[in-house]
Amino acid sequence: MSSLVHDLGARSSSLVGSLGRVSRFGLSLLRALPKRPTRFGFFVHALFDAGVLSMALICLSGFTVGMVLGLQLYTTLTRFGAAEGLGAVVGLSLVRELGPVLTGLLVTGRAGSAITAEIGAMKATEQLDGLRMMAIDPVHFVAMPRALALTVAMPLLNGLFITLAIGGAYVVGVNLQGLDGGVYLSGLENAVRFGDDVGQSLLKSLVFGMLLGLIATYKGHSCAPDSAGVARATTSTVVTASVSILLADYMITALWGV
C-alpha cells in the first residue's frame, strides 16, 4: 500500500517536473527569438525542410481527403435531397476542423519527428556540448530556427491543404457526380465566413505549429544521448504532439464558441 502511494507521488512529481521543463524550454525559445545574429539562413533552411518538403504530402492528402468528402457527403446528402448543401458541408468541415488538425498530424509525422531525430542525434554525438563550449547557445542556434519554421509553415500548409481539398471535392461532386459547379462554389462561399471560420482555422494552425515546434525541439534536446534514446524521443514527439494537437483543437473550438 505504501509503495503504491510512493509510486503515485513519484509519477505526479515527474509529470509536474517534465511540464515545468517544457515550459522553461519554451521560455528559452522565446528569449532566443530576438537575439542577434538572427540566424535567418538557418530559418530558411528549416522552412525548406518543414515546409517545402511537406508540400507534396500535404497536396496529395488534401486532394484525397477532399475527394473522399465529396463522394461520401454527396451520396448521403442526395438521400435527403440536399445535394446542394455539399459546398457548405465540405467548406465548413474542412476550414474549421479537418484542415488544421490533419495538417498538424501530417506535419508532425513528416517534419516534427525528423527534427527530434536530428537534434537527438546532435545530442548523442555531443555536438550540442561542442556548441556550448564555443559559447554558442544551442537553443538559439539549433532549436529556435526549427521551431519558428514549423510555426510559420503550419498555417501556409493548412491553406494549401484546404484549397486542394476543396478542389478534390469539386472534382468528385461536380465533374463525376454531376452537381452544378456554381451551386457547389456559392454554397461554399455563403457558408464560410472570414471572422468565424477562416480566422479560427488560422489560429488553430498557428497554435498547432507552435506546439509542434516546442515539443519536437524539446524532445530532441532532452533525449537520452544514445541511439535508443533518439528512437524513444522520436516516437514520443509523434505521440505527444498528436495528442496535444487534438486536445488543443477541442479547447480552441470550445473557447471560440461554435
Partner: protein
C-alpha cells in the same frame, strides 16, 4: 551556412503559394472585405421573425444588398431587427421588409419590396411596413382546425 539560391527560391515559392491559398480562403471563400462600402443601418419590427438569425442576407429582387446586424426586442416586446444595407440605394420610405425562406434547408432572409414615394430611407430609419415570417406550424394548425369544423 552557404547561401543556396535554388533552396531560397523554392522556399520563396512555398511561402508565395501558401500565402496565396490563405488569401483565396480569406477573400474568396471567407468573404473578407478590406474596404466595405459605405453602409447605413435600418430597423424593422416584426411580430414573428421565425428562424431569422444575425448575418442573414437582406435582398432586393433576390440580389444581396446587406445583412442583419442585430436582433432584439423593442419596448413593446416586438422583434426589432437591425440591418446594414449598402448606402446610396434609393429605398423609398414606404418600402416594406418581409421575412422569406430560401432553399430546401430553409435559410431565412429579409426581402425588401420597393415603394413608390420619392423620399428615401436614411441611416437609422425604420421600415413602416413589415411582413412576418410564415410559420408552417401555424398554417398546418389552421388547416387541421378548419378541416375539423367541416366534418
Amino acid at each position: 551556412m552557404q547561401p543556396d539560391s535554388t533552396r531560397d527560391l523554392t522556399v520563396g515559392l512555398f511561402v508565395l503559394i501558401g500565402l496565396s491559398t490563405l488569401a483565396y480562403l480569406s477573400l474568396k471563400v471567407g468573404g473578407l472585405e478590406f474596404s466595405p462600402g459605405e453602409r447605413i443601418e435600418l430597423h424593422a419590427t416584426f411580430d414573428d421573425i421565425g428562424g431569422l438569425s444575425v448575418r442573414a442576407p437582406v435582398r432586393i429582387a433576390g440580389v444581396k444588398i446587406g445583412q442583419v446586424s442585430d436582433i432584439g426586442l423593442d419596448e413593446d416586446l416586438r422583434a426589432l431587427v437591425s440591418m446594414e444595407v449598402d448606402a446610396g440605394l434609393p429605398l423609398s420610405i414606404d418600402s416594406s421588409a418581409a421575412i422569406r425562406t430560401s432553399g430546401l434547408l430553409g435559410d431565412q432572409f429579409i426581402s425588401v419590396e420597393l415603394g413608390a414615394e420619392d423620399d428615401v430611407l436614411k441611416d437609422g430609419d425604420e421600415f413602416t411596413f413589415t411582413e412576418s415570417a410564415l410559420s408552417i406550424d401555424k398554417l398546418i394548425g389552421r388547416f387541421v382546425q378548419n378541416s375539423g369544423v367541416s366534418d
